[in-house]
Symmetry: C2
Subunit: 337 residues, 2 copies
DNA sequence: TCATGAGATGAATACGTATTCATAATTCAG
DNA sequence: CTGAATTATGAATACGTATTCATCTCATGA
């Protein structure tokens, strides 16, 4: 154990504790001899200042919080989360912050993790990666004036700092591309109702069809639940239609792959009879047969922007656009050519 | 902003700050009326104690540190990391701890992240997920008497708390299984030299061969670097041998898949002419053609044990076995049948 | 020579909590 | 009814740092 503090260093250096603090913080106005003497003692005893005391005194902890409010399975399956963490971690480190990660506590505890982290002053700000963001908890953060950045979308966008993919634009681009390739009955498989990612992608799909003067056929729009099974089920329904689709855009790679397998099982030729496109560009997309086209999301960029925006807020710098959009990249592979 | 503290609550409740503290900490010896009065004020003003002050005063931060000392690419590619975090997160939460994640800082900063976190008292203990653990930094942690748990292996095992897979046993089991299936020239593709995971798995492979009375053929043992390319390269060399292998165990799924693709490109029949087995049981294993056999690692368990052991140390409980081994599970798929 | 100011340093204080110590109020045994 | 034991509470202190305020020294200029 240490038991070492500035007072001890001060004694050993024959100066006051205040001077030790000044030396350590590179404060001006300390005699060169004294500075050297103190530093010598500090080094000799390998003294390290106590971060707890610093954060109590300094009113900042130097720690950012990341709240991941998703089901464990989702966190594990999806690389989104790990890439996000790595990205945030890198940028935190570069700017001298630490990162505290938490998931929402179960209902048992009254206090939200947001409060637990922010209101107790454990962290200086929060990055929220929530599945559904429209939430009373967020209102409380706004009311409290706490610095936070939302990854995703939020109804009142000008109030809240947020970072998001250009889901709408990306889905639109994918749809347009499929139209270019001559596909005419393009279907869409979303996630559960209310998930904004799914809604936005559906919106982009609609936009593209409307812009092309094509009807939006409601029977070609279905909901899954981000699982392979749900994709397969939906595809079977699609295949049973009098006029089955000649292309499927899925909200998710897993859904896309489920649908694709179902199509293969029905001996439907991919991509000749039907094309498939997923979202996320998961590692396994290129291993599939045929390789699955997918929309690659720049998660590293997402994390970078979120971190930067949050730190800007914390350090009272102007946060330029309150909402930042990171463009996606459509990776075309054999499944949609 | 809050600006709320126990003194203010005390004033409003017409008691002393000490009493407020006692009420909040469910201390005995406080009059029921007073308790109710204080609690009413606390709730009315939605007061939350300041964690910074608590940790300064209480000599504990209630936060664990997780240090991930690996290349960003590795963290992103491999699900190991994200699963580990999720697991640790869950068990931290259950026991009332928070989790601070950090990567090793670049060399620029003199101070190790270990020191940065532990010595500054930012966290109460550390979980180290390092690629090569044998390190002077660890010695310093031991000397300092800091609580920490190593994920992986360490030379002086009785001194250090560690959690690990049974890499040796698992590799041995895989090899034996392949022998059972009639494979006789089994090759092994490892990672870069010095990575203990790779060394342990190689050891298990050797053990199995020796136990079966078979020679360990050095030309069937090669090093990759956890990448597909390296797997492919090694396989091409293997294929060019006078007597090519009839099975390949790779240290890693990526390596295995690279090798498998190379074999396919050479029109070698899988698994008839050559079998493949990887490690990690990545999501994409089952999507591959043929589906890749792989050793599934119970990362959730790993995280649980590490967290439990660390918290036991921190709370001065006896830590039963200093080293815990989590068994792996061989998932056989078409690639090795 | 003295007043002025700059420069260096120590003393004191605040950050917000938990805990010890002292004290007042109450109870109990005799 | 008194002294001792118990209980409830407030005052004081410590955790370790950063910063303000006061003090002291020394040089400079008139």
């Amino acid at each position: 154990m240490d038991g070492l503090n500035q007072r001890k260093i001060a004694e050993l250096s024959q100066v006051s504790q205040a001077t030790v603090s000044r030396v350590l913080n590179a404060d001006s106005g300390v005699n060169e001899d004294v500075r050297r003497r103190v530093l010598a003692v500090v080094q000799a005893h390998d003294y390290v200042p106590n971060a707890r005391a610093q954060s109590l005194r300094g009113q900042r902890s130097g720690t950012l919080g990341l709240v991941v409010n998703r089901a464990p399975e989702e966190l594990i399956q999806n690389t989104f989360f790990s890439v996000l963490i790595v990205s945030i971690l890198q940028h935190c480190g570069a700017k001298g912050y630490h990162l505290c990660v938490d998931t929402e506590r179960p209902l048992e505890s009254k206090r939200t993790i947001h409060e637990e982290l922010l209101r107790t002053r454990r962290v200086d700000g929060l990055i929220l990666a929530e599945s559904q963001a429209s939430d009373a908890r967020i209102e409380r953060l706004i009311d409290g004036g706490f610095p936070f950045v939302l990854i995703g979308r939020y109804p009142s966008e000008n109030t809240v700092c947020s970072v998001d993919n250009d889901n709408i634009a990306a889905a639109r681009r994918v749809t347009e591309k499929l139209l270019e390739h001559g596909r005419r009955r393009i279907a869409f498989i979303g996630g559960p109702a209310g998930i904004y990612v799914s809604e936005d992608r559906l919106l982009g799909y609609r936009h593209a069809l409307e812009a092309a003067g094509l009807p939006v056929v409601e029977e070609l729009i279905a909901n899954g639940d981000f699982s392979e099974e749900s994709g397969a089920l939906v595809l079977q329904k699609f295949a049973a239609l009098p006029e089955p689709p000649d292309a499927v855009i899925a909200v998710d790679d897993a859904t896309a792959i489920g649908a694709m397998r179902a199509a293969r099982d029905l001996h439907i030729d991919i991509p000749k009879q039907i094309a498939f496109v997923g979202f996320n560009d998961s590692v396994f997309c290129r291993y599939f047969d045929p390789p699955l086209s997918s929309v690659s999301i720049d998660i590293m960029k997402l994390g970078e922007m979120a971190t930067t925006m949050l730190i800007d807020q914390i350090e009272h710098r102007e946060v330029h656009p309150r909402r930042c959009i990171v463009p996606c990249n459509f990776i075309e592979r054999a499944s949609s050519l």
